[in-house]
């Protein structure tokens, strides 16, 4: 017995507003993008004939094809860096650090920026990366370089540097969650059976945290693929990835082209998520 009866009509009525909201604001608009991407003809209306012309035009352009490759490569780089960094930090905080107050303090220092504006955090990188920026001044002062290095601002390096600071938490969080679930007895059992620490990690700890690693990779992948704001802030107009192309087409009133790129971006993301689901079952995480 509880305040809500199992399978009662009340449950339906309580779920209905949220369900309608999500369908109206997410499902229908996304399906509409898919539909619009097939519209042919000249006028922008639902009466348009459906064609593959928009896609043919996109895939006929070598620059755009190369852009898909660059975007995926960029995402893979970020996944690798954030994945390794995130795992190391999660492992240190959860396993290696024994001092509880210090652990809480470091955790807070790790998490708090997540609750502040990502846009502001991206902008905060700009004074760091410029030719007169903090990094260049430090390099000059230390005598590492004689002239300012120009590779930071308006470059993919600069974008990656900012995105690493934005998204490492996403790779780390799920691993922290999985590490917290491992019973200490498991490690002790393995140690009692004379497994060296390296083997305990490789054969016990890491496999148990694998679902967390995969979820973290998915989160980083999805966020980096769709993050046009950081690219725009730090890359200026010099660097564009797939997500920026959507905005460019949209601002140029080429709605069908924007829809095509959106569908391709969506397809990349779906493939990524499905591939990850084949490795781990997301539903098992809750239990």
């Amino acid at each position: 017995m509880s305040t809500i009866r199992a399978r009662s009509p009340a449950a339906y009525w309580l779920a209905l507003p949220a369900a309608l909201w999500m369908i109206g604001a997410v499902v229908v608009p996304v399906l509409l993008i898919l539909w619009v991407s097939f519209w042919g003809g000249r006028a922008f209306s639902p009466a348009s004939p459906l064609t593959f012309d928009n896609y043919a035009r996109f895939f006929g352009n070598r620059t755009y094809l190369a852009l898909i490759g660059q975007t995926l490569l960029h995402a893979a780089t970020l996944m690798a860096i954030c994945g390794v960094l995130g795992y190391c930090i999660a492992y240190f905080l959860m396993v290696k650090l024994r001092n509880a107050p210090l652990r809480t303090a470091l955790f807070l220092a790790f998490i708090i920026p997540f609750w502040t504006s990502a846009l502001i955090r991206a902008i905060a990188w700009v004074p760091f990366l410029g030719v007169n920026g903090v990094i260049n001044r430090a390099l000059l002062a230390l005598g590492i370089t004689d002239a300012p290095v120009e590779i930071f601002l308006y470059s993919r390096t600069g974008i990656s540097m900012a995105q690493v600071s934005l998204y490492t938490l996403m790779a780390s969080g799920p691993v922290v969650y999985m590490l917290a679930q491992i019973a200490p007895a498991l490690r002790e059992a393995a140690m009692t059976l004379k497994a060296p620490p390296g083997v305990v990690f490789r054969r016990v700890i890491f496999p148990l945290t694998l679902p967390g690693v995969v979820i973290g990779q998915v989160l980083v992948f999805l966020n980096v693929m769709a993050d046009f704001a950081t690219v725009q802030t730090i890359g200026g107009n010099k660097i564009a990835l797939l997500s920026n192309l959507i905005l460019n087409f949209y601002e140029g009133a080429q709605l069908r082209a924007a829809a095509v790129v959106s569908v391709i971006l969506m397809a990349c993301m779906l493939i990524g998520v499905v591939a990850a689901m084949r490795v781990v079952d997301i539903r098992k995480l809750g239990g």
Binding site: A10, L14, C88, L97, S117, R121, N132, R137, A162, Q232
Partner: protein, 273 residues
């Protein structure tokens, strides 16, 4: 080298890495705040040319072109509305999940979709929908609709997590003693899950307040704060932007602090009561 030494060595290595990353993560925020206090002749990078509140004053007495006050007001109102809506819908949706109605798994994935679907696509999709329906995008119309679809799933997950740890026997006791379901929910269930409700409200506020991608496509001509900031960045990077960035970040910190404090208060009053 014995495994004990090696273990200590990895500890030091990982510790250094963690501290290094934390510095890396905080340095830009700290620099931004520091530079926002630079003198009137200070630029967007070091040297600061003195210390002053000049850029904050500029921000306050801004001309119409770069006046951040109306966008700030819109962002705050929108975030407040999102917070209230998120809280109500998240509580009802999570309570519905406890009823295990037919299709509750699909319902869960529908809400999860709101977290997974990128703002860029959702925003663009809603812009297309509004265009086809002949609706003019506005910060208090389409943007509100889209913002809640982003904040609601976070509130919902928070409430689910709280209800997972909730001891239903307490409710049972109330019902056995003759309370109606509504009274038991209001007087027993709700006070116990209050920390989750506050968490949902915080998510609703801060995620909406900081949202950029979704707003970009759905806000129309009366922009919200992140859009105004981005527009100013496109025109010119000035220390004013640093001032507003610092102010926003401090606001976020205050919001987190307020929530943590209220959570602590609730826990204390519950222990006493």
């Amino acid at each position: 080298m014995g495994w004990r030494t090696r273990s200590r060595l990895t500890s030091w290595l990982l510790g250094t890495l963690t501290i290094g990353f934390l510095l890396y993560q905080w340095m830009p925020i700290a620099t931004l705040s520091l530079l926002s206090f630079s003198g009137p002749t200070g630029g967007t990078t070091f040297p600061m040319n003195g210390v002053s509140l000049h850029w904050y004053r500029e921000l306050w007495e801004a001309s119409i072109m770069s006046d951040f006050k109306p966008p700030l007001l819109r962002s705050a109102l929108l975030a407040l509305a999102c917070s209230v809506t998120t809280t109500i819908l998240a509580v009802t949706a999570a309570q519905a999940m406890r009823g295990r109605f037919r299709g509750h798994n699909a319902f869960f994935y529908l809400l999860l979709l709101g977290i997974m679907a990128p703002g860029l696509l959702v925003g663009f999709g809603v812009a297309l929908t509004a265009r086809l329906l002949g609706i003019e995008p506005a910060w208090d119309g389409t943007a509100f609709l889209v913002h809640v679809s982003w904040t609601l799933p976070f509130g919902f997950m928070t409430m689910l997590a709280i209800f997972n740890r909730f001891d239903a026997r307490i409710e049972e006791a109330a019902l056995t003693l003759g309370a109606t379901r509504w009274v038991a929910f209001r007087r027993i269930t709700l006070p116990i899950v209050l920390p989750g409700v506050i968490g949902a409200a915080l998510f609703g506020f801060s995620l909406s307040y900081d949202e950029f991608a979704r707003s970009l496509f759905t806000t129309g001509s009366d922009v919200t704060l992140p859009l105004a900031v981005m527009a100013q960045l496109d025109r010119q990077l000035t220390p004013e932007l640093y001032a507003i960035g610092t102010a926003t970040t401090v606001t976020s910190f205050v919001a987190i602090l307020a929530c943590t404090a209220s959570l602590a208060l609730i826990r204390r009053s519950m222990r006493r009561g």
